[in-house]
């Protein structure tokens, strides 16, 4: 819970805390090793944020307001942040686009709980006011150019609304006087996000806000029904060739837009952001011999062929540090950037991104990338 005293502590005497003296006095754990005793938000460089508001716009979404510490350098609307949360003792990182205006010092995240989404489910079910999360700085170039284009078309589906909502709110805060069409795709009227705010923006005549429902017919508030097609486009933005268009949502939606824009030969005016995992999920019982292991830092790729990561690396001529070769000494531990591995001692399968794995007892299951 933020109180006046913790708010002031959020701005520590940074020059002192980053000084060589402070480092020398706190070696080997560093200043950060002690700042957490005062406030979990305090850090010399890490961006951390505290949840200050939790609300549910629909049954399977949660909208969180985060107040970051002084290390947060802000964002441009459309960008995303990596959010790290701890679930049952394990850290997990996922990216989310803040939905608030970029002028705000806070971050608003709207997260849709996916049935198998560890992070999204955790945030949906367990985030409370006071919860502390770790953030990256803002990343990505899915942003509005300056000067702002005179005609904008913003298309979103599901929780892909967040970067576009941020753009819309940023434009509103800037008193943007160009023309914006905002088209939201949702399954049913109960799934429409930011409904009240969008309605009031539309009522003031600031923006042209349209809603399309893909799985509900005859809803009074639906401007359109069904999935995106050229008819939808002609109905809401027949002048789309004159607009800069931003789209974020499920892959079929983005593919459908890309096809139309390509047909019209204006592909360069369509800007897309996708949060769908690029890797294919592999079944736990899949064949270990299929797939490619990429040792990213060495630029070497080899066929998996049923060997351990250590054997594969050594077979490729690499010489990673290793020790016991039986999974006890952790000398060969390296970061697995992506992919699924099976521990040959315990049989456990793991597909976490960016996790430390012991090369000597892990076999690739499908394609794997190792930072080696």
């Amino acid at each position: 819970m933020p109180s006046p005293s913790t708010t002031s502590l959020r701005r520590p005497p940074r020059r002192l805390l980053r000084s060589r003296l402070a480092r020398a006095l706190t070696t080997p754990h560093g200043v950060d090793g002690f700042l957490g005793l005062v406030d979990p938000l305090l850090a010399t460089d890490d961006v951390r944020a505290r949840v200050t508001r939790v609300r549910h716009q629909s049954a399977d979404t949660v909208t969180l307001t985060l107040t970051p510490n002084a290390n947060w350098t802000g964002f441009r609307s459309g960008q995303f942040v990596n959010v790290t949360v701890e679930v049952d003792g394990r850290r997990h990182t996922r990216c989310f686009s803040p939905a608030g205006p970029e002028q705000s010092g806070e971050l608003e995240l709207t997260v849709k709980a996916k049935p198998d989404g560890i992070v999204s489910r955790h945030l949906h079910d367990s985030a409370r006011v006071g919860t502390v999360v770790t953030l990256s700085q803002a990343l990505g170039d899915f942003t509005l150019p300056r000067p702002r284009p005179r005609r904008l078309l913003l298309v979103c589906g599901g929780s892909g609304i967040t970067p576009l909502m941020s753009m819309l709110r940023t434009l509103e805060a800037e008193r943007y006087d160009g023309a914006v069409t905002f088209l939201q795709y949702a399954c049913t009227s109960a799934d429409v996000l930011y409904r009240d705010e969008l309605t009031s923006l539309a009522a003031r005549g600031a923006f042209d806000v349209r809603t399309a429902l893909t799985r509900e017919t005859d809803a009074p508030e639906a401007d359109l029904e069904g999935f995106f097609c050229r008819d939808h486009l002609n109905a809401v933005a027949p002048d789309h060739a004159d607009a800069e268009t931003y789209v974020c949502g499920p892959t079929p939606l983005m593919d459908a837009l890309a096809a139309v824009w390509a047909e019209d030969g204006i592909g360069e005016r369509l800007h897309a952001e996708s949060f769908v995992p690029t890797r294919a999920l592999v079944a736990p019982d899949a064949d270990a011999s299929a797939g490619t292991v990429t040792f990213a830092a060495s630029g070497i790729a080899v066929d998996a062929g049923g060997a351990t990561l250590l054997e594969l690396a050594e077979g490729a001529g690499l010489e990673p540090a290793s020790g016991c070769r039986m999974g006890i000494c952790h000398t060969c531990t390296r970061d697995k950037t992506s992919g699924t591995v099976r521990n040959i001692v315990t049989g456990s399968v793991s597909d976490r991104e960016c996790e430390a794995v012991q090369l000597c007892v892990n076999q690739p299951v499908g394609d794997v990338v190792v930072d080696l």
């Binding site: 080997p28 002690f34 005793l37 049952d88 997990h92 020790g323 039986m326 000494c329 430390a356």
Partner: protein, 372 residues
């Protein structure tokens, strides 16, 4: 009581049939898998509580020493700082560097980057301890923890007149244990013996010197200077805390492998050693210390040395929970489970150090000593 065990025949490994050895190994694997599958927020919360306690004790200890001219404050400061260093080295550093908490994905508890409050750099320790000691446990000539290169701890180390000083060397090693561990990692004794070239020492030597410099600067220059007129008292206090930690760590660590009844092995043991045989060797080569909960925490749970050697990368606070099961399995398979109060275990270590200062009084078998 001394008996010879034929180490080269698999059929009589520690008096167990080959099938029993593997069955014992399978039981140990089952315990390990069960705990691994159960790791979660309980373990994360535990280690974070210990880290928080350690950091508070450090702040408390160093703060009290600012009032070091008041005797109770000085004593309290030394006590708090000693406990801080003991917790940091034993329950946090040693265990974190084993990879016991790598599954959490927390950079502050990552075995690859963790650094501890002692002279020995974590980098060298991870090699000499996690790999060499834990893989080749008690194999004379391979496990450099047998005597730390400066003590005669086994009859298998041939007696020379130099060993008359064994008790004196032990006292010196205990007093300067953090420096002993740092030198032990550098393998300076192997350089002296011509097994390793001086140039191989250059880089690890530089790393060790930097780490030692940072530690000494903090404890013996900066904090004393900060306390102004109390500087000599702070210097003495920090020295006393380091000494207390040194004596404690030496005591606990030497009770882990050198009380009566613990076996030493020759290098032939390692030939084609199975996982089951490796487990058996860990049991035969380790000894526990009985005590209360606080004692176990302060020993870094190395009081459960047997469980630690069976499962070096399971969170150490779990050892007490699985000890009964391990002990029961040892009983069923007829394996010794060496345990006793601190006084008894340490007493037998001291007797061994003194006894081995002298050559064998009468000719006996050349095999390792062993009492059942």
């Amino acid at each position: 009581m001394t008996a010879t065990v034929d180490k080269t025949s698999e059929a009589t490994h520690a008096g167990l049939s080959a099938a029993d050895v593997e069955a014992f190994g399978a039981e140990m694997d089952a315990i390990r898998d069960r705990v691994l599958a159960d790791l979660g927020s309980r373990d994360a919360d535990y280690i974070r509580r210990i880290v928080t306690l350690q950091r508070r004790l450090e702040v408390l200890g160093r703060s009290l020493l600012f009032a070091g001219f008041i005797p109770p404050a000085w004593l309290g400061g030394v006590a708090a700082l000693s406990l801080s260093k003991i917790l940091d080295n034993m329950e946090i550093g040693h265990n974190v560097m084993h990879g016991q908490y790598d599954w959490m994905g927390d950079p502050a508890l990552d075995s690859r980057t963790f650094e501890w409050d002692t002279t020995c750099p974590a980098e060298g320790w991870r090699h000499s301890h996690n790999y060499v000691h834990h893989t080749f446990t008690n194999v004379v000539g391979k496990d450099r923890d047998v005597g730390y290169g400066v003590l005669r701890m086994s009859e298998d180390q041939p007696w020379r007149p130099l060993w008359l000083g064994n008790p004196v060397y032990a006292l010196l090693l205990a007093t300067f244990f953090q420096w002993g561990v740092a030198l032990h990692d550098l393998e300076t004794d192997r350089v002296a013996a011509g097994e390793k070239s001086l140039s191989e020492l250059a880089e690890p030597g530089r790393v060790a010197a930097r780490k030692a410099g940072r530690q000494a600067l903090k404890d013996y220059v900066l904090f004393p200077l900060l306390t102004g007129p109390a500087a000599p008292l702070t210097l003495a206090g920090n020295g006393a805390a380091n000494l207390a930690r040194n004596l404690w760590a030496f005591t606990i660590i030497f009770c882990g492998h050198f009380p009566d009844g613990v076996e030493m092995f020759d290098e032939a043991t390692l030939e084609a050693e199975t996982r089951g045989q490796w487990y058996v060797r860990q049991v035969l080569g380790s000894a526990n210390i009985e005590g209360g909960r606080v004692f176990h925490v302060l020993s870094g749970n190395l009081s459960h040395q047997i469980e630690h050697h069976l499962f070096p990368d399971l969170p150490a606070h779990r050892y007490a929970e699985i000890a009964a099961e391990v002990r029961d399995a040892c009983r069923r398979y007829g394996l010794p489970y060496n345990t006793g109060r601190l006084g008894r275990q340490f007493g037998s270590v001291v007797r061994r150090i003194v006894r081995l200062a002298l050559p064998r009084r009468r000719a006996r078998h050349a095999g390792p000593e062993q009492t059942r």
